[in-house]
Symmetry: C2
Subunit: 402 residues, 2 copies
């Protein structure tokens, strides 16, 4: 089994048994492949007799999207497992445990989290997660701080940049987030009812210039080790627990890209409440919850990031008076700009979100799409002059009141 | 000879003879070691009968500075030879030809340029180099453009970032340029007559904040493949020819760091004219030449960089209206800021320049030191609001008139 090939379920079971200290040699195991089959195989291995379970995630050497298939490096499995281990060392309660990584099979053996739900689904069901903002704020502050020049030896950081060079996965982001939505690209996908919105994007010179700036930061700013794809589909959640999964897009980039991803996905659900809330009062109430979560996410991040900076910085020069404030203000601006980009691409670009696409009522869906675009575009255009996270809340509230 | 060891002159000759197509098998060769012995061995190999000659440059596994010795990776020989080959493919007339690189010996065999002089010495002798600004502007525009996300495939660029991860040599810059001069560091070296200036640096909060910003760019901004140490001691020159040597500090960093290095070293010589010009009229005249060269360097760089952008960009999005102007303005600001940093460190930091240190008249030397610091500090404080290279000339002229 040492040469790369996609595992069968039988092989997955056989492999699971071979892992030391997980199952007894004579254990009776069952396997169910639960991946979407586009990028990875995901085997859910269970031992009914004991209730024990694990996940085997194996990268496939291609990506299947809208019927097409293009080659995609297996090296992303290494990047994902190494990123999980980095994150797990800092926030062991916030990521799945990695039991083993098998490079030749591009296979990671990890903790089963099936007692959690995917956060996107939880938000669509209008659940509330009181611990989320604190958890994700801690995840962001710790993973970003400790991988940056502030929190780790600056020569070691350069070796880590090398470790996480990730051209194939970055290319997906560069195309689908920063490029295609702003031109009439074949990969775009949007409802004909909002063609006017798509065409407005393609002709909005001011907007495109701001996106070009943000894209340039994504291409060049090796600030911290990012998760790289931190939407609510990459988060498993319960009321008591938050687990960040799937860091295969990890690379050294601008911190605001990760923070912005979280905020964008909360705001996409905010827009989606056009379709999910049963009435105006409950819509207002759930939106209030979402905006509070946006604010608490940033506030927790900022507070913990500044605390780490004050207490754990390895970089004497970063204590130059005024530097921390300048740095954090720039983070807020980046966060807001990238949040905007991540909203726009989910409405007109290739990959959408269920928060909006699964709305059955066509008029509500269209309202949600236009609202998400209005918020996203305003965030992008406004980002370089932002000074407070409250502005994001104001932008969302005003757009929803239109 | 395949295991690393510092070569003897005899071994250097033996090695030179083994290189195909350079010397005849029975050639009579002579060798002279002309390195400074601190970082590298440099063997000048000549064949008196034909006049043919080459250089063998071998990295030593340590750096010797002020009597101390610290280990330094031999990998820098690979980085230097690969950077020379990259530069040579773009500007074959502006770098020495590399005949061979021998990784196990950390040895590069290259063109002998001993018909040229080191530019620093040429400027101290008050020579003029009419081709220099055009040559170095072309070198900077081509090497920086074609290694950036503007001029090369953006996925290949990420692999090249990996190829040029260079922690040891970057550490030298980070310490000696961006850190030590701004505190009472043991490595600093300055004349007691200007202790007031050094102490003023250590207590100048505004200045230190700007340096912290510029240092942050050096640490994180993977914009282009830099030479990384482009002072006038890294340039061989004649009236007809310019050759850039010694790119062992090459890494992916902010373009302005290289452009600023050239400008800083012209301005250090400008300050040094306190000691080298025989009278006020000739001082004014040579300074005018230096400032014209500063301006022409930037202007040639900008013109050629914009031409490459317009004609050779591989990045469609970089053609978004307005983006080029924003980008070039930021380059100018970075250039001016880094130029300032590179001036300050040559007066109070560890490594000085002969343009100032070799001035024999103590009063003239002190005036030159204070002038260089005045220009450098003003450039640093002013850099973020700059809009034209003319401001650099004004700053120098005004400081010299004090």
């Amino acid at each position: 089994m040492t040469q790369y090939h996609p595992l069968s379920e039988g092989e997955a079971i056989q492999f699971a048994k071979s892992i030391p200290d997980l199952f007894a040699a004579d254990a009776q195991l069952a396997s169910r492949e639960i991946g979407d089959g586009n990028l990875n195989l995901v085997f859910h291995i269970t031992e009914p007799a004991t209730g024990k379970s694990i996940i085997l995630k194996q990268a496939l050497p291609y990506a299947k999207v809208v019927g097409e298939s293009w080659p995609l490096t297996l090296d992303r499995a290494r990047i994902e497992s190494e990123a999980l281990q980095y994150e797990g060392a800092l926030c062991p309660d916030l990521v799945p445990r990695v039991y083993q990584y098998v490079p030749e099979l591009a296979l990671t053996v990890m903790e089963d989290l099936s007692d959690h739900v995917i956060m996107r689904r939880g938000l669509i069901e209008r659940n509330k997660y009181p611990k989320f903002a604190g958890d994700i704020g801690r995840f962001l502050s710790h993973t970003l701080f400790y991988s940056s020049d502030l929190g780790m030896n600056q020569q070691d950081k350069k070796e880590r940049v090398k470790q996480f060079i990730n051209p194939d996965l970055c290319k997906i982001t560069e195309d689908l987030i920063f490029d295609d939505p702003y031109r009439d690209a074949e990969t775009n996908s949007f409802d004909e009812t909002i063609r006017d919105e798509a065409e407005a994007l393609w002709n909005d010179t001011e907007l495109k210039l701001e996106v070009a700036r943000l894209r340039h930061g994504f291409l060049t700013n090796a600030q911290a080790l990012l998760h790289g794809d931190l939407h609510t589909g990459s988060i498993f959640i319960t009321e008591q627990s938050t687990k960040v999964i799937d860091p295969e897009f990890a690379y050294y980039g601008p911190m605001g890209f990760d923070i912005g991803a979280v905020i964008a996905n909360l705001l996409l659900n905010f827009a989606g409440q056009e379709g999910w809330s049963p009435d105006a009062a409950s819509r207002a109430e759930y939106r209030e919850y979402l905006l509070t979560t946006v604010k608490d996410t940033w506030t927790t991040f900022e507070w913990e990031f500044r605390s780490l900076w004050n207490d754990r910085s390895v970089d004497r020069i970063s204590n130059t008076p005024g530097f921390q404030d300048i740095y954090v203000e720039q983070l807020l601006r980046d966060t807001i700009g990238y949040a905007g980009c991540k909203m726009v691409r989910r409405i007109v670009g290739l990959a959408h979100v269920a928060d909006i696409d699964k709305i059955e009522d066509a008029a509500a869906k269209e309202r949600a799409q236009r609202l998400a675009l209005a918020i996203g575009k305003t965030l992008i255009k406004h980002h370089r002059s932002s000074v407070s996270i409250d502005e994001v809340l104001d932008i969302a509230v005003k757009a929803a009141a239109q």
